[in-house]
């Protein structure tokens, strides 16, 4: 499974549009996550959306993201987990353990049941 996280330094970028880099993580059951990090050249949201889809990303974990972009990614078959905060390591670990629905991983005011982040979308992980 290919997971993408727009990042600023070592944490999830607060806003999808403002991320400097895109972290790609190849992970799966019993497989050690393999990470690659690339500067995000695309500056428009739409170009970034195309890049994510063309990179074969299945899951996007990101900070604040507008509903229209989330709809577009969903329509392209990308599972979007928005409004997430935290360091890359703790977020990835929580995703793989299926514990990313913890309230502290969400930006203030954004719980898994509110906005776009529905609880059912947060189940799963790498196992």
């Amino acid at each position: 499974m290919k997971v993408a996280i727009p990042v600023c330094g070592n944490r999830v970028s607060t806003v999808f549009d403002a991320a400097d880099e895109l972290l790609m993580v190849e992970t799966g059951p019993g497989v050690a996550p393999e990470q690659s990090r690339a500067r995000w050249k695309e500056d428009t949201v739409i170009a970034r959306t195309v890049h994510i889809r063309e990179s074969g990303v299945q899951v996007l974990i990101c900070g604040a993201l507008s509903g229209s972009v989330a709809r577009m990614l969903n329509a392209a078959g990308v599972r979007v987990i928005p409004f997430i905060r935290g360091t890359v390591d703790e977020v990835l670990e929580a995703f793989c353990n299926g514990t990313l629905s913890g309230r502290h991983f969400f930006l203030p005011g954004c719980t898994p049941c509110e906005g776009q982040g529905r609880r059912r979308r947060l189940r799963g992980g790498c196992k």
């Binding site: 577009m72 954004c110 509110e114």
Partner: protein
């Protein structure tokens, strides 16, 4: 000043206000800030301001940080935030240093104003619509959203088919505003509205002396749309002669203005639209096959509103917000009964018809909620299936039964088709049919 008094004053301000300490942690957060960001005060206090405001500038060019570094205030800088509902809002922010009574810096203060109304008005005037203005949760529409980035990114000709009022021009503008040509003009021409001779000079322009009264050169729409996008609406209505000229432009990428002996290069992306099915017109011999294949590189087919009824509540909320901004009213929404009336209609005029119905309701409804009697009589006095009861006395359950019955009738009592159209699972529909005791004729 007492903290309680300070909070009362801050809460009475219409602009969002928050203060931060030296570690960028929020120390106060007023009511307007709660409303704009969607974050409750108790959740915001103590959090990093970037996590609460969620503005694009927070990561790289934080205004508060600049003010704290330089000591200079920032006034009315427009930025975008994403609120907790996933809405992208324009806000105007101002920042200043915060000092205690001894003059020591204890943090900074940021005030921000929601500019959504101004943005709505600007979009209405400039018609600068983006894909974010296309509102839908319909699966067919979502499939279109999925390919929109690729469509926008390519330079190919696009054909948009859809009934009148389905939003073909909105889609065309969204494609243009997403494309690399977005900073160049978007020019729309309704080909069906002009006679052939006028359309020719309108599209290609003319040279001085080309005909009587042509005293000076006039650039055509192709010239005006140079390096931008030309939207040819009602392309199915152009004459055979004009089809030949259009074919030449599409093939050769050049055209000649009327009266000119030289060809002009056309660097224009064409988006054509029609409310007819071009393939059928080709079969009938009314549209050139070669032009059809030139235009039909990417074809987007927009569903009529009756096939995306699940979008009506979203569209109603969108139009009410827009009309409130334009007419400076404060209509809160529509009542369940009025929504049931709106959902029972077939909308031959599609979204444009829904918009007009709401515009009419805004004239009759002075404040509060839009009620059934604010809607056109044809919707209001429309007797729901198998019901002799006046609309005002119906319960929500009755309304649901009426709505589902009408939807089933529209789909010739086909339950699978109805479930698909309403965006619900077939078993949910079956359960509702049973629970609401809806009679299916002849068990179709």
């Amino acid at each position: 000043m007492l903290i309680k008094q300070r909070d009362i004053i801050l809460d009475s301000i219409a602009d969002g206000v928050f203060t931060v300490d030296h570690q960028w942690r929020i120390t106060s957060f007023n009511r307007a800030a709660e409303k704009i960001t969607g974050v409750a005060r108790e959740e915001a206090i103590g959090q990093q301001c970037r996590d609460v405001l969620k503005a694009e500038i927070c990561e790289k060019s934080c205004c508060l940080q600049k003010t704290m570094t330089t000591g200079e205030p920032i006034v009315n800088k427009t930025v975008y935030i994403v609120n907790t509902l996933g809405q992208r809002l324009p806000i105007s922010i101002s920042t200043a240093m915060l000092r205690d009574e001894t003059g020591a810096v204890i943090g900074a203060v940021e005030t921000f104003r929601d500019m959504s109304i101004e943005e709505t008005l600007r979009k209405t005037i400039e018609e600068a619509y983006s894909f974010e203005d296309i509102i839908s949760k319909n699966k067919r529409m979502h499939r279109l959203f999925g390919i929109l980035p690729d469509v926008a990114d390519s330079a190919s000709t696009v054909l948009i088919e859809g009934d009148s009022g389905t939003g073909k021009e909105l889609f065309a503008r969204a494609i243009h505003n997403l494309s690399p040509r977005k900073n160049k003009p978007f020019i729309a021409v309704n080909c069906g509205a002009l006679p052939d001779t006028l359309l020719e000079s309108e599209l290609f322009g003319y040279k001085a002396g080309a005909f009587t009264d042509a005293k000076k050169d006039k650039p055509g729409r192709f010239k005006q749309a140079d390096r931008g996008t030309l939207f040819l609406d009602e392309i199915g209505d152009v004459s055979a002669a004009m089809q030949v000229r259009l074919l030449r432009v599409l093939q050769e990428k050049t055209y000649e203005p009327l009266g000119s002996v030289e060809s002009t290069k056309a660097d224009v992306r064409i988006i054509a639209a029609t409310n007819r099915t071009l393939a059928d017109l080709v079969k009938e011999g009314k549209f050139r096959e070669d032009l059809y294949y030139r235009i039909n590189v990417i074809r987007l087919s927009l569903p009529p509103l009756r096939e995306r009824m699940e979008d009506i509540p979203l569209l109603v909320a969108h139009f009410i917000g827009r009309l409130n901004a334009i007419q400076q009213k404060n209509i809160l929404g529509v009542t369940d009964e009025a929504l049931a009336c709106l959902m029972s209609h077939d909308y031959p005029g599609n979204i444009r018809e829904l918009e007009n119905i709401l515009e009419r309701a805004f004239i009759l409804c002075k404040s509060g909620m839009i009620e059934p009697h604010h809607l056109p009589e044809s919707l209001y006095i429309h007797k729901p299936a198998d019901s002799k009861q006046p609309l005002e006395t119906l319960s929500i359950k009755d309304m649901e039964a009426i709505f589902l019955t009408n939807a089933l009738r529209r789909n010739d009592w086909n339950r699978m088709k109805t479930a698909r159209q309403l965006g619900m699972h077939k078993s949910t529909l079956f359960r509702k049919i049973k629970a609401l005791n809806i009679h299916i004729p002849h068990e179709k």
